[in-house]
C-alpha cells in the first residue's frame, strides 16, 4: 500500500508542482515588478539622459559604419582595378558625365591626349570591357559603351570558341549575332573579345549569355548578353591603348 501511495505521489507530484508554480508566478512577478519600479523611478531623469546619449552614440556609430563600408567598397574596387592595371599599362580615368540622349550610350572621362589616351583606346573596369574611346580631346575624352547601338565588338564564347558579333541595342543588354543555328552556346556562357578588328585584344570579358534564340529556318542563332562591366554605375575606368 505504501509503495502504491509513494508511486501515486510521484506520479502526481510533477503536474502539481507545475500547477503550483504557474499560480505562484503571477503574484511573485507582481511583487518583483513593484520593487523594480520603486527602485527605477528615482533614476528616470538620469536614464532619459543616458538614453539620449546612447542614441547619439548609436547614430554616430551607424554613420561611421556606413563610411567604413563605403571605404571598403572603394578599396575593393580600386584593388580590382589595380590588379587589372598591373597587367597592362593604362590610365585610370574618372567618369564625369553620361550622355543625356537615351539612345546613345556614351560617357565623358576626365583624361585626354595629355594623359596619353588615344582614339579607339580600350576602356575597361574591374569587371570587364566598358567600351572604346571615340573622341579624344587634350584633357577629356568621350567613350562609347558596348551597349550603344553603334557599338560592334567581335566576341567569342569562352567555352566553345563559337564566334559572333556583339552589338549594342540602346539598353542594358547586348546581342551576339551571326552565329550558326547549331552554335554550342547556352545560358550562363561567358563571352570574351575575339581579338579581331585591331581595337580589342583577345580574351577580355564582355558579358554573360542570358538567353539563346535559334532560328532553324534561317540557320542562325542570336544570344542576349548582359555586359560584365557595371555600365550603370561606372565611377573609375581604365583606359588602355588600342590593340
Amino acid at each position: 500500500v505504501l509503495a502504491a501511495l509513494i508511486g501515486a505521489a510521484c506520479m502526481v507530484h510533477e503536474p502539481l508542482r507545475t500547477g503550483a508554480l504557474a499560480i505562484l508566478r503571477a503574484p511573485f512577478r507582481l511583487v518583483v515588478s513593484v520593487i523594480h519600479v520603486g527602485l527605477t523611478l528615482p533614476q528616470l531623469p538620469g536614464l532619459a539622459r543616458e538614453n539620449a546619449r546612447l542614441r547619439t552614440a548609436l547614430s554616430r556609430r551607424s554613420l561611421e559604419l556606413a563610411q567604413t563600408r563605403e571605404t571598403l567598397r572603394r578599396t575593393t574596387q580600386a584593388e580590382a582595378l589595380l590588379a587589372t592595371a598591373s597587367q597592362a599599362p593604362g590610365v585610370v580615368a574618372s567618369v564625369i558625365g553620361r550622355s543625356p540622349i537615351p539612345t546613345q550610350h556614351t560617357i565623358w572621362l576626365d583624361r585626354g591626349t595629355r594623359d596619353g589616351l588615344q582614339l579607339d583606346g580600350l576602356v575597361v573596369d574591374a569587371h570587364g570591357v566598358v567600351g572604346r574611346l571615340i573622341d579624344v580631346h587634350p584633357s577629356t575624352s568621350l567613350a562609347m559603351l558596348i551597349t550603344d547601338p553603334n557599338s560592334r565588338v567581335a566576341g567569342l564564347v569562352e567555352r566553345s570558341r563559337e564566334s559572333g558579333l556583339l552589338s549594342g541595342e540602346g539598353h542594358a543588354v547586348c546581342r551576339l549575332s551571326y552565329l550558326g543555328a547549331d552554335a554550342d552556346m547556352a545560358e550562363g556562357d561567358r563571352i570574351v573579345t575575339a581579338g579581331v578588328g585591331g581595337v580589342f585584344p583577345k580574351g577580355l570579358l564582355l558579358g554573360t549569355v542570358l538567353t539563346v534564340a535559334r532560328d532553324d529556318a534561317a540557320g542562325s542563332a542570336e544570344a542576349r548578353v548582359r555586359p560584365a562591366a557595371r555600365l550603370g554605375r561606372l565611377e573609375e575606368v581604365l583606359c588602355l591603348p588600342p590593340a
Binding site: 558625365g97 543625356p100 540622349i101 537615351p102 539612345t103 541595342e169 550603370g232
Partner: protein, 159 residues
C-alpha cells in the same frame, strides 16, 4: 537661363542615374516652356539647347540640332493657332516631340528591338510629367510671363 539650367540639371541627373532612360528630357521641356512663353523669340533658346545636346551626340549630331530647330519652329508657329500657354497643350507638345525625336534617333541608329519601345514609353511619360513640375517651379521663381498664371487667376485678372 531656363534652358541652360535645364541642360545642367539634365547632365547632373544623367551622371548619377543608371541610364538616361530614367531621366526626363529637361532641355526639350525647357524649350517647350520657353517658346510657349515667348513664341517670337524661339531661335536663341532652341539653338542653345540643340547645340549643347549635340555636343554629346555620337550618331548624326546635326540631326539633334535640326530636330531642335524644327521642334522650336513648329511650336512657335503653333502659338498663332492654339493657346500654347495651356499646360495640357505643353504636356502634349513635350510628349509628341519626344516621341518623334526618339523614333528619329532609333531610326538613325537602326535600333529597333522590343525592350527599347518600353523604355521609350517610360521616357516619354517622364518627360511629359516633367512639364507641370518645371512649369510650376519656373512660375514660383517668377521666370515665366504672368500670362502663365492658372486659368482662374487669369479670369479674375481679366475681370
Amino acid at each position: 537661363v531656363i534652358v541652360l539650367g535645364s541642360v545642367a540639371v539634365q547632365w547632373l541627373l544623367c551622371r548619377f542615374a543608371a541610364s538616361a532612360w530614367w531621366i526626363p528630357d529637361c532641355p526639350w521641356v525647357a524649350v517647350v516652356l520657353v517658346v510657349s512663353g515667348w513664341p517670337r523669340h524661339w531661335l536663341l533658346p532652341v539653338i542653345v539647347a540643340g547645340w549643347l545636346t549635340m555636343s554629346w551626340s555620337v550618331a548624326a549630331p546635326v540631326a539633334v540640332l535640326t530636330w531642335y530647330l524644327m521642334g522650336g519652329a513648329s511650336l512657335s508657329v503653333s502659338a498663332a493657332v492654339v493657346d500654347v500657354t495651356d499646360e495640357r497643350v505643353q504636356v502634349l507638345a513635350a510628349g509628341v516631340g519626344e516621341l518623334v525625336w526618339l523614333f528619329v534617333q532609333c531610326w538613325i541608329q537602326e535600333a529597333r528591338v522590343g525592350p527599347l519601345y518600353g523604355w521609350m514609353a517610360l521616357h516619354i511619360a517622364l518627360t511629359m510629367a516633367a512639364v507641370p513640375v518645371l512649369r510650376r517651379l519656373l512660375l514660383w521663381l517668377h521666370l515665366l510671363p504672368d500670362v502663365w498664371s492658372p486659368p482662374e487667376a487669369r479670369r479674375i485678372a481679366g475681370a
